[in-house]
Structures are given as structure tokens and as C-alpha cells.
Symmetry: D2
Subunit: 262 residues, 4 copies
């Protein structure tokens, strides 16, 4: 792999998406469509969405396609889809995460594999960017359950920092369809231009992030990024098409698209 283009040839990325976020009769994510394009499936575990039968179906389909199964854990809040901060005590949060991890692992194992990583969902994902006690509580759950499980999250978050300090493998992710500030943070969804919709633009930005390690911030400055995974969204119309476009662009740029999870 000599030469100074080794870096480009060596570019490797994972594509992750949220799956299995229905509940009983209600559907949300295009699970089958997404499983054909991603390499890592963040499977909802029943606290913010998902139910046992959906978990079973998604795990079976993921294993068939060689997609890695991750536990997408959230607050216990079906009515709010886990998008509302809940001030749960750290010890209870550790237990809530263990419960979800174990439940999903049953389906992953029955399908012939096992849970390969963990990614927090929604308000929990956002909270542990800075909420040290809750971040540590989720880290503790993974550490106790299986300290070899990688954890996925926002670069610069308390969550990934504490995970690293605890000896876990912290995997930073970037968002293909979100605007960034010059500080490398996500522009709030409440701001105009926070979410991109044009598939070509999203694909081009994805390649830039992965191959060049750079992204154009909303103010025009260039921000360095080094994601090991790209999150593609699954709950919007056309989401699966966008994800395919991103993947094709990455492959076209010589990027290896493969899960971070062994």
C-alpha cells in the first residue's frame, strides 16, 4: 500500500442507520430497504421504539445480509419516542441499558450472531454529549456487559471520552445530511439549513468527510473530521435512495465500506 495515495486507498467507512423503530401495528423505518445499504444496523430495543417481534425480524434480516447489529438504546419513553430528556438516576440508567442490551442480544444470538456495538438514541444521545453522570452510566453498562463492544457517538462528546477512559472502543460518527458549525458541532435542527435534502450534495459531502477528512461548515469554513462511521437517516421519505447514493459515491471514490465492528 505504498505511495502517498495510500491514505486514499485505505479510506474505510461504516454506514449506520436506525432500524426497527416501529411498535406493534405502527411502522416507521424502511428496515428491509436500509439493510440493503448499511453495514451497521442500530436496532431499537423496545424502550423508545421497537418491539420483540420487530427486533427478531430485523436481527434475522441483518444476519442474512452480513449487517452488524448494534443496540440502539434509549430512555423508557414510547410516547415521546425517546426524544425527551429524562432525568433518570445513573444507576437506574445503567440497568435500563443492560436490560435493552440483553434483550436485543437474545434476538441477535437466535439469528446466529450477537450484538456487536451500542449507540444511544435521541435525547439520550444528545444528553450524554455533555451530561457526565448519564454518559458514565451508559459506559458502565457496556463495560459490565461486554467491554469489547465498541460504542458509537459524537466526536468530542463526554460519552466517547468516558468510554475511552473506561477502556472501551469509541467510534466517532459523522452525519451525511446535517450541517456543521465551524466548531465541528451539528447545527441545531431548529436552525434553517440544518438538514440537507439534496442527494448529490449529501453524497459529495460524505466523500469529502471520509476521503479528505474535511467538511464545509455552514459559515463556509473548513472543519476537520475523521469519522469511522457515517449515519444515514432512515425515517424520511427517500431516505433509502439517499443512502444508496451515498454508498455508491463512496465506493466510486475508492472507499471501503465496511463495519467497524469485528
Amino acid at each position: 500500500m505504498g505511495g502517498h495515495d495510500g491514505a486514499m486507498n485505505a479510506a474505510v467507512i461504516d454506514l449506520n442507520a436506525d432500524l426497527g423503530e416501529g411498535l406493534g401495528i405502527w411502522q416507521l423505518t424502511d428496515d428491509a430497504g436500509l439493510l440493503d445499504v448499511v453495514t451497521s444496523a442500530n436496532v431499537a430495543c423496545g424502550f423508545h421504539g421497537g418491539d420483540p417481534s420487530i427486533m427478531g425480524r430485523v436481527c434475522a434480516a441483518a444476519v442474512e445480509r452480513g449487517v452488524r447489529i448494534g443496540a440502539q438504546v434509549g430512555y423508557r419513553d414510547l410516547h415521546g419516542f425517546g426524544r425527551r430528556f429524562l432525568d433518570v438516576a445513573p444507576a437506574e440508567l445503567t440497568d435500563d441499558v443492560l436490560y435493552q442490551l440483553g434483550a436485543l442480544d437474545a434476538f441477535a444470538r437466535v439469528a446466529g450472531d450477537r450484538v456487536r456495538y451500542l449507540k444511544p438514541h435521541g435525547a439520550l444521545y444528545n444528553a450524554i454529549v455533555s451530561h457526565e453522570a448519564q454518559a458514565a452510566a451508559v459506559v458502565e453498562a457496556v463495560r459490565r456487559y461486554d467491554a469489547t463492544l465498541p460504542v458509537l457517538g459524537l466526536p468530542g462528546s463526554a460519552w466517547l471520552r468516558l468510554a475511552t477512559e473506561a477502556g472501551l472502543t469509541a467510534v466517532p460518527e459523522a452525519f451525511a445530511d446535517r450541517a456543521y458549525t465551524s466548531a465541528g458541532e451539528l447545527v441545531s435542527r431548529r436552525e434553517p439549513g440544518a438538514v440537507l435534502a439534496d442527494p448529490e450534495q449529501i453524497a459529495a459531502r460524505s466523500v469529502g468527510m471520509v476521503v479528505d477528512g474535511r467538511i464545509l461548515a455552514i459559515d463556509g469554513t473548513v472543519v476537520d473530521v475523521s469519522p469511522r462511521s457515517l449515519c444515514v437517516h432512515g425515517d424520511t421519505p427517500g431516505a433509502v435512495g439517499v443512502a444508496h447514493r451515498v454508498r455508491a459515491a463512496l465506493l466510486g471514490a475508492g472507499v471501503t465500506v465496511v463495519s467497524f465492528a469485528a
Copy 2:
């Protein structure tokens, strides 16, 4: 008690009880008290009762004492404590059981052991005495999860018969404090005399069932029983005291009190 007492010396029994059946602020079972007397703990898995933190505490305490952890699985029905029949489709019931099994296993493993057996709860326990489709659905969950896990239930039930046919280890249990009919079935709780309260009587009947393999039915006839486990109740006042009395009587009669679960 001399004579050909080889049989007596060989008498072996397990004591099981329902534990961890609180929810959040609400408590029900005297978990610490019961763990000092039983050999198998049927731990509620969050569908009819129990929550992640209770499950974590009970598993840790059980492992400390060498008590075996079993998954006490039920219908999803906190408001009815799993005591109301729910006509869930078999495939969904299999998934509901897998979910509960996996969730509990996380806590058992974190505590240093693993789930060692399964026992259905409440209305599910009663339904699968005769409801073949639901019985088969629970069997299927165990078979897929870990076909070496013993299952606990009522002698003569469809549940234990189908479990045996599927290659599972079926463990028949008897009830120390319940009246039996001459057919060897439990007298319905709605009948007078269905539940015994006198600790001495309960202890004596326990010894009779285990050592002699016989129990006096409510109509005065003698019924043959051959339980490998005795269920003692934990949700009544004085329950722990009764359980200790039963255990002491069994030990006094030369019975070995040990879990059926390897």
C-alpha cells in the same frame, strides 16, 4: 427411620419462589428473605412485574447466595400483573419470551452466572397447561435461546409435554401450600380450602410429597406426586417463615435440598 431407606436418603428437591415482582417504587416480594431459603429464584422479567434495577439487585443477591436464577416470563401486562389471559399470537409470544430471557440473562451474567431455567408466570402458566399453541410458543423460545435450559411447570401440562417432545428438560413442580384434587390437579383458588396457611401442615405435606411421593387430596384420597421442585409463595404475610419451616422439615427428613439446574 431405618430399613431400606436408600430411597429416603436419595430424596432430592428444589425450592423455588417468585422474586423481584416489584415495580419502581412498589414492592411486593421479600426478595432478601426468600433468597436465604430457596434454591431457585424465579425472577420477574419486566412484563408482568420487575424492572431493570430490581432484576439487577435480585440477580446479584442470588449469585452471592448460590441460588439459581430462572426467568419468570409473563404476558405484557403490568396493570394486571400478568394474571389475565392475553390471546397473543404464538409467534409474538415466542418473541416476548425471548426478549424477557435475554434481558434477564444480561443481569445474571453481569452478576457472574446466567439464566439457568425458565418458569412461566400467572395467566401464562395457567394457559399453557392446556393451550397447545401458546405452550408450543414458549417451548420454541427456550429451544431457540438455549435448548439446555430446563423448564419448570405443572405435571401433566401441555407445556411440559411439548417441552419434553422438543428435547427440553421438563421439571415438574408441586405446591406446598395448595390443596389438590383426587386427579392430582390444584383446587381452584375460588374454592374453600384451596390455599393452606398452617406452617406445620404445609411442612408436613411437603415432606410427604418429596419423601413418600404422595399427597392427601382434598377429598381424602391419596394422590401420587413426584416433584423435582416445590414452589413456595413469597407474596403473602409470613411467607418467608413458612418457607423456612418447609426447608427445615425437609432437611430433618433427610432430603437433599438443591436446585435442579446444573
Copy 3:
């Protein structure tokens, strides 16, 4: 339309549909679309589907359009969408119905009207066709809450019979898109041909039921029906279009489309 068409001119029917059956992020029914065509809205009350914010929105929109609000009450079973029989004790079922009635009434009153009728949902609807104890329990809830509230249900059901005996106004409904047996019962959804899809056929059958009081059964025999309400479905693709077609056909046949609820 001359001749002894007095009956035809006098033909009056209500159109009812299930609404508000989403939960949090999950949507199911096209509430806005249905409210433009029906005269009675069966609003889910949070036990099988629906949540407070959906209930508030649907009630406001119904009142704006002059559509009557009915309490669509079900078993407490979000995961099964109330489609699984639950063996709840009658006294508890009465309380569950009262709870749902009161909750919906708050939104109906805040919107400027009140709950005008009650219709059971899913497995409860089906159960009380023949389950006398549960049927009586639902009747008892209505009787206690407001004995002037009409109740909607299947002709010939224990539910409508007991409602009538208790002095309630029982409103029989027919299904525009379902096949009937020669006994006037619905063909099970498990049978082929149970659910009709052709809008023209559904519209024609609707007119036949309302104007002529007759429906062609699946075996070709003619069955007498006398519905005061027609149920149109809202949870299938094209449902709103079918409902509009049914309404237009009824109006074209001189039928007055108006709610049964004062």
C-alpha cells in the same frame, strides 16, 4: 324517484370511522381526510392507540367540521393495538372504559362539544358480541357515565342486546367493505373474499344496505340489514377515497347522511 319512495326519501345513515389511532411519532389513520367525509369519528382513547395530543387535535378538527365525537374504547394493549383478547375482570373493564371515556370527554369539551357516543374497538368489539360479562361491563360504564350516550355495535350482539336492556340507545352498524354470511354475520378476515376493495362495489353495496335494507351474502343469498350507521375503514391505502365514493353514492340515492348522535 316517484311512487312509494317515501322510504327511500326517508333513508338516513351515519358514516363512522376509526380515527386518531396513532401514538406519538407513529401515525396510522388519515384523520384530516376522514373527518371531511364521515359524520361520526370513533376517536381512540389511548389504551389501544391514540395519545393525549392526537386526541386533542382530532377533537378540535371534528368539532370544526361538525363531526360527532365517539369514544373508541379498547383493551389496554398498545403493543397489540387492542386486537388481542384480554381476560380482564368485568369490574376492572368498567373502570377502564370510564377512564377512557372521561379522558376523551376532556378534549371534546375543551373543543366545544362532548363525547356523543361509544364504540368498542378491536378484540373488545369482537369479544362482546358473545362474551356476556364483558359486554355487561362496558354497558355498565356507559350507564354510570351518561345513560343518554348511544352505543354503536354489531347487530345481534350481546353488547347491543344488553345495552338495550339497560336502557341505552343501541345503534346497529354495517360494514361497507366486508362480506357477510347468509346468517348476517361478517365473514372472518381469514377467509378469502372477506374484505372488499373495489370502490364501486363497496358504494353499491352501501346503497343497497341503506336504501333497500338488503345485502348480498357471500353465498349469493340475500340478507336483511337495517343499519343506522355504516363503518368505513381508515387504515388502508385509498380508504379516504373509498369513503368519499360511498358518501357520494348514498347522497346520489337520496339518502340523508347524518349522525345518529343528537
Copy 4:
């Protein structure tokens, strides 16, 4: 009632307590015991605790005794007993409160009375001391439902201030068994001495608060208070006995113990 002791003779107070906070099989509050001593019952409405059958029983028993029924509304959080802050959007919180209000009103009306006031529970009670948006959301629910309903809360809270500004009747309460700071705020439960246990001391402080309008703060200073209601706790051992002692002391001091709710 002339003379300068008119004030003392005219002293009037309400005693309120939390009731109906069980769930299904799980019990918490001594509802029957408390209803014999309080004048206002804060009845849990099913979101943090309580269920339809408990609500029905408590309402019937309250009406029998002439005790006023209040809606004790909370976050939707059975697992955390409503004691964990939930960042629910204001519009959804308004709807959640309306739902609970209506549900309880059904049972109050069936019992022959109606909901007479509202008191937030747990983390919601604490949040709206300062969380303006959530406080306004609860105010809005009451205003829409019935603007004549008094609301109970902490003196000096955003909740009571916004309620007053919206034209509601704000009723300040004091806590018979809690220590106060010199600023008139409650000493945090995490501090030593925050909760008093001695019945005589609690009774004496109650009389001081009601008759003299003063309470000795934890630092020895005297704080002015002017509660229209005293909250007595129902979820601790001996709680009912303490409540009786408080009531007897108040009556002995010439205080009229009567609800604030018309």
C-alpha cells in the same frame, strides 16, 4: 367576629394528602386511613401511579366522607413514579394534564361529585416551581378545562404566579413535616433534618403555621407563612397517625379544618 383575636378564631386550613398511588397489585398509600383525616384528596391519575379501579374506589370513598377530590397529575412515568424530570414539550404537557383531569373527573362524577382542584405531583411539582414553560402548560390545561378549579402548589412558585395571572385561584400550601430555610423554601431532602418524624413536633409546627402564620426555619430564624392547605404525607409508616395528631392539634387550637375547594 370582632376583636383582635378574630384572626385566630377565623383560622381556617385544609389538610391534603396524596392518595391512590398504587398500581394494579401494588399498593402504596393507606387510602382508607387518610380519607378519614384529610379534607382534600390528591388522587393519582394513572400517569405516575394509580389505575382506573383505584381511582374509582378512592373517589367513591372520598365522596362518602365529604373529602374533596383533586387531580394529582404527573409526568407519564410509572417506572420512576413521576419523580424524574421529563422534558416534555409544553403543548404536550397541556394535553397530558387534560387527559388525566378528564379521566379522574369521570370517576369523581360517577361517585356523585367532580374534580375540585388540581395539584401537580413529584418531579412536575418541583419543575414548575421555576420552569416557566411547563408551569404555563399546566396552567393552560386547567384554564381550558375549568377555569374555576383552584390549583395547589408551593408559595412563591412560577406555577402559582402564572396561575394567578391566568385568573385561576392559586392555593398556597405548607408542609407539616418538612424543614424550611430562612428564605421560606423547603430544605432539600438530601440535607439532614429535612424531614421531621416526631408527631408532636409536626403537630406543633402545624398549629404555628396556621394560627400564627409563622414557622421556625432550620437556622432558627422565624419565617412568615400563610398556607391555605397543609400537606400531610401518606406514604410513610405511621403517616396516618401523624395526620390525625396534626388534625387534633389544629382543632384543639380552634382552627377550622375545611377544604379550600367550594
